[in-house]
Amino acid sequence: MSVTLQLLQGFEETLKVFALTLVFSIPLGLLVCFGSMSRIKPLRWLIRGFIWVIRGTPLMLQLMVIFYGPGLMFHMRALPRFTAVIVAFSINYACYFAEIYRGGIESISQGQWEAGQVLGLSRSQTFFRVVLLQVVKRILPPMSNEIITLVKDTALARIIAVYEVIWAGESFIKSGLIWPLFYTGAFYLVFNGLLTILFSTAEKKLNYFRG
């Protein structure tokens, strides 16, 4: 019972990292995506270079740089640990989401944009009222993949000493107990099971149209 309570405490932190990362990275990803598709070449290449760096290096390294970097490089005060985790995760996931969004937006036929244009709609009206829902439908499967990965990536937070569920489970090893570690696995499984159901419900909801 005390094991369960302690793991629940750890899992609460895990969920916080998960939820806050999503809240920030989903809209931030859209901005990054627009940047990477911008007609202004220097901006486009800058953003694509940024995506390359973020996707090309380990999240663990990014976490350490964001937490220790400001102090060691610029003699600034470090971000609070938890904040540093959210910043690093949000930037990292925004870049992955941006690429998923870009794929989704580019897969929509030019004809949809042109149809909006000849009817007199502005580009943003066409995007939000015509293109967006079609994009959402197409990107749901890769987004669910990425989001399930995020649930598990939260364990990396411990690298800068942010408490989470695996750490909670591991602390029982001192007392000679291995099963709490397996137990943490159950937390992940149940949560990801719920997410899977959620996403398949969303996919079914959008099945009313094709395109």
């Binding site: 007199g120 709609l121 094709r210």
Partner: protein, 236 residues
């Protein structure tokens, strides 16, 4: 004065000069058919009229004044309906977003337009539930909902099975009776012959021949037109 005046339209893509000075006029209520082989510039001309391309030079006047986008409507070869909306929503979307009249008027008008194209029983159908011909008729109603002065069609039946082209052509014929001014880029020679008031044959970015259907089809002056028509009618 002619409703539409096009003067010296030119358009170049990279190195290809697609339109080399296209000029013509069209009267209110007339139907213009544009024929020609692919690559002759007819689709680019239509896209310039609809502001999908910006001409390099030349002018487009409607009623003597520089044209605006709202004066033209376009029906695409591939319909380009919005898949997440029903037929009715497709027709009503733009008028709603652009606030053309109040909500119930827009709704009623959209229903009437769909009735006019013979789809009164398909108001709530999504595009995937409709045949190609029905989808194209929704697209026509959608274009009409914005009340364009000139309605353009870019090969409206090319993506359709032969047995579905008639229902679309019948709608276009019906619009002619209601005095709509229309420009139809088409491969349907028989249709052009019987519906158009004016026919333009385009080749290599210029108007090779322009006249009544009788003039262009029965007594073409240009050698190129004659050769094109022979090839066409042999194919049909």
């Amino acid at each position: 004065m002619a409703l539409l005046q096009v003067n010296g339209l030119q358009k170049q893509f990279d190195k290809a000069q697609v339109l080399r000075g296209v000029s013509f006029t069209l009267e209110q209520g007339q139907v213009l058919a544009i024929i020609g082989s692919s690559g002759s510039g007819k689709t680019t001309l239509l896209r310039c009229l609809n502001f999908l391309e910006t001409p390099d030079s030349g002018e487009i006047l409607v009623g003597g004044k520089p044209a605006s986008r709202q004066q033209f409507g376009l029906v695409f070869q591939n319909f380009n309906l919005f898949p997440q909306y029903t037929a009715l929503e497709n027709v009503a979307l733009a008028p709603k977003l652009l606030k053309i009249g109040n909500k119930s008027d827009i709704q009623t008008r959209a229903e009437n337009l769909l009735g006019q194209v013979g789809l009164a029983d398909k108001l709530d159908a999504y595009p995937w539930q409709l045949s190609g011909g029905q989808q194209q008729r929704v697209a026509i109603a959608r274009a009409l909902a914005m009340q364009p002065e000139i309605l353009c069609f870019d090969e409206p039946t090319s993506a359709l099975d032969p047995e579905l082209t008639d229902e679309v052509l019948r709608v276009i014929r019906g619009l002619k009776q209601k005095n709509h001014t229309m420009i139809v880029v088409t491969h349907e020679m028989a249709f052009a012959k019987c519906v158009a008031d004016v026919v333009i044959y385009m080749a290599d970015g210029v108007i090779e021949e322009m006249g009544t259907p009788e003039e262009v089809f029965d007594n073409p002056k240009s050698e190129k037109t004659r050769a094109f028509l022979t090839r066409r009618f042999d194919a049909e």
